[in-house]
Each structure stands twice: as C-alpha cells, then as structure tokens.
Symmetry: C2
Subunit: 228 residues, 2 copies
DNA sequence: AGCAAAATATGTTATTTAGCATATTTTTTT
DNA sequence: AAAAAAATATGCTAAATAACATATTTTGCT
C-alpha cells in the first residue's frame, strides 16, 4: 500500500482538513500491515492513534465472563476505529484484530485532537460517527439479548452481508468466517452456531461449503432475523 | 423550577457558550414538567430538542421482540439526552419516560447545532459525551448477554447505586423501581426479577421492603456481578 | 506429503430461563 | 371506603441453550 493510494483512501478525512493540517497529515501518517488474526490493539491498551482500515477486514471484540468473546462490530475499508477510547479518556475496553490480511494507516490521536480543536468540520465528523456507532450498539444490545438463536444467527448473516457484501454471484457472503467467529458475533456457543447454520442449510435457506456461506432465501433470513 | 434555578443547573453547558450564544440560550430554552411514567419521547419521533434533566429520574428504553422492553440507560440530574438521534440524522430509536416527577429543559437542537458549528468547546463536549455513552453501551451488551440472572441483577443494583446513590443510611437505593423495571434493566422476566431479588434477601445480601432495596453486603453484590 | 492442530459435525445430558397459573398484597381509582 | 387494577410472590412445566463427549474433516505447518 503506497502513500499515494493511502491518501486516496482517506481523502474523505483529508478533505476536511486545512492545507496546513493536510501537510501535517503527510508527516505523521504511517501504514502497517496486519496478518490474518493479528492483534491490532488489546483491551487495556492506551489509545495512541486514529486507525483507518485501508484494505482487509477487522473485528472489534470484547471478552466477557468465562473467557467468552463477543464481537462488538466489524470494520470494512474505509472506516475509522480506535477513537472512542481516546475521546473518553479511557484505555481501550475492546480489542481489535484482523479477520484477514489488512492494511491500516495510523495518525497520532493527539495530532488529530489538535486538528479538531481548530477544525469544526472534523469535530462534527466524529460527532456523527459516534452517534451512528451508539445507535448500532444500542440496537445490538436489544437484538442480542432478546432474539432467539436462529434470529441472532440470521441477523449476523445479514449484518455480514451489509458490511462486506456478496461475491459476483450475488448470494455468497464475501467474508469467510470460522463457526467460532460466527458464534462470537451472534452470542452463542460454537456448537450452536454449527448446528443452527446446518439447520438453515437443511431448510435450503443457505448453502454451506466449508466457510463459504451462500444465502439462498433472503426473505426467509430477513424474516427469521425480524421475528427473533 | 424557575429560570434562575434552571440556568444554574445547566451552567456547565452555558459556560461553554459565547456571550451571544448565552443570550440566545435564554430566548430558546423552555422547561417542562413530566409526571411519573409520562412519556418524554417515543421511538420513531423526530428529535427536535436537546433535553436536560434538571430534577427527577428518567429511563431510556427500547422495545424489542415480543413486546419485551430493555432499559438502555438511566438519566440523573444534570444529564443531557436526546442528542444522538439528531446528530445521526435519524429518528429516535429509543423512548424515554420519567421514573418519577421530573423537570426537563429543552433547547431546540438546530440552535444547539448552529452553536456547535461556531463553538469548538461545545462540539468537543458532545464528542466526549457520546464516547462515554458508547463505552457504556458496549460494556452493557457483553454484560447483558453473558452474565447469568444473578449477575445481571447484581449489576443492575450496583448500576442504580452509581446512578442515583443511596439514602442517608448509606445502604438503601435512592430509587424505588417496580420489579418490572428492575427486570427490564437486567434483561429478565418480571417473575425472575422477583425470585432472584427474594433469593438475595434470603441470603441476607439485600433487605427488601416493598420497592425499597437496602444493600446489606456490598462485597457479595460486587462479587456476584463480577463473576456473572 | 505427512503430521499435528484446529475446526466442524452431531449426539446426549444438564442447566438456565421463560412461560403459565394462581394466590396474595399493594396501589390506584371511583 | 370499596372496588378495581396492578404488582408481588411462588410453584410447576416447558423451552431454549450450554456443556460435554467423541468422531470426522479441514487446515496449517515443516
């Protein structure tokens, strides 16, 4: 990932900056490659940088009681992450790692915050991002607590489709997750993710080929997700 | 609640404003009294105002599948609410109502947003608020999904203590909730909230007298909440 | 290619929690 | 103060989900 490509990717952010800030951006930005399953940051770490996923796929998760893990959100290119903890003056309460090989650019958070103090547009950008994130999080709390297993899994499949899209066939999810990740996304045990996905396959709602999931009956999935 | 008292309560916000904005604030601010259980806003409503709870207690909740309700957060004086949806350009995805008689002041959100566009401090205030809210919401997702009933109820009791404090005896929660509200806060059925609270009473962890809950063994509650 | 480790599949059992029913008590309304 | 409605309490049953066990398949590694 070259600097030129990178700057093209984060143009949305760069466009909000003043000329002077944009010059500073070039000085401070760094790019790092993360391998599959590599940790990007961990719970308890001090947030130092604004991260922007340039390519690849990333999960943000939290470990709960008894070693269970909950995937809180998934990140696609070009999305930002890592800002909440800094703004709240906290250490990270989540961890993030790469689903697959990912390129992430980093901008020191103190530099970003300095820009925000003299750049309303940038501040309002984060107000909006945080507001969207919070809406999703609140909705997720209710879905994960109130829907039954089938509803939660169906919702997770739709969520993955919205986040990462479909292959050229217009039906196969573009992300290949392990059943364990699928379970951690849907708040269930791995065995139940396996079983429930198998049921969906038996019912011809999806077709599974290893980690490849093809959604055959979108309406059925939507219905199962909705009624819980 | 007089205008003088009100301005004293929202001084934290007023202090961030310019002189001109403060003058405008006086023109646009209105105060309204809400009776016990009165609806403040509903899911689907268009967010028009920034709300600030001056006195009383408020719940923000969301109805999920099968008519079940989840209390998402509780508000104490002097806290703001109603801003997320406006910033995200959405209608409300939650509802809010008063636990008890409450006074709430309202400032038109478009006025607030105009201020934000020319007032970095105010924008950064909301960046911080939203970041704190999001951290709580993410934590709550994991607690509510992974902890067992006793852990969730214990957490709810601690949460109420942190939010609304204790009576002069240093042990009785200052908020008197119905078992149904307690259930909606802890993601369980009303019958289970009743049963579990009774168990805590039998185990001498709390003492209950109607809706009055006295925490006898704080360490036990903390431990139950922690281990889930 | 061959081995080890990890992931998937599936059956069985145990636990947790919801659902339902009914009695009693408390609160609200008239 | 009486009546009605709502909330609380408690027992029993059913449903949902986790836990555990074991076999098979796939993946990653050297």
């Amino acid at each position: 990932m070259s600097m030129g490509e990178t700057l093209a990717k984060i143009q949305g952010l760069a466009d909000m900056l003043t000329d002077r800030q944009r010059a500073e951006l070039r000085k401070h930005i760094t790019i790092r490659k993360y391998l599959k399953n590599e940790l990007i940051y961990n719970e308890g770490d001090v947030p130092m940088s604004l991260l922007c996923l340039l390519s690849g796929k990333v999960k943000v998760y939290k470990s709960g009681v008894g070693g269970r893990t909950q995937i809180i959100r998934v990140i696609k290119p070009v999305q930002y992450l890592g800002y909440r903890a800094y703004f709240a003056n906290q250490n990270y309460v989540t961890a993030a790692s790469a689903f697959e090989t990912s390129y992430i650019c980093e901008i020191p958070m103190d530099v970003v915050y300095r820009w925000m103090e003299e750049n309303i547009k940038l501040s309002l950008f984060f107000v909006r991002q945080l507001s969207l994130d919070l809406g999703v999080s609140d909705q997720r709390t209710v879905s994960l607590t109130q829907k039954h297993i089938r509803g939660r899994l169906a919702e997770a499949l739709l969520f993955l489709q919205e986040s990462y899209g479909l292959e050229e066939d217009g039906a196969t999810l573009s992300i290949y997750l392990t059943r364990e990740d699928l379970a951690n996304l849907s708040n269930m045990t791995t065995a139940n993710a396996i079983r429930t996905l198998s049921s969906f396959a038996t019912e011809k709602i999806v077709a599974i080929d290893g980690r490849k999931i093809k959604i055959i009956d979108f309406d059925a999935i939507k219905k199962i997700s909705k009624i819980g």
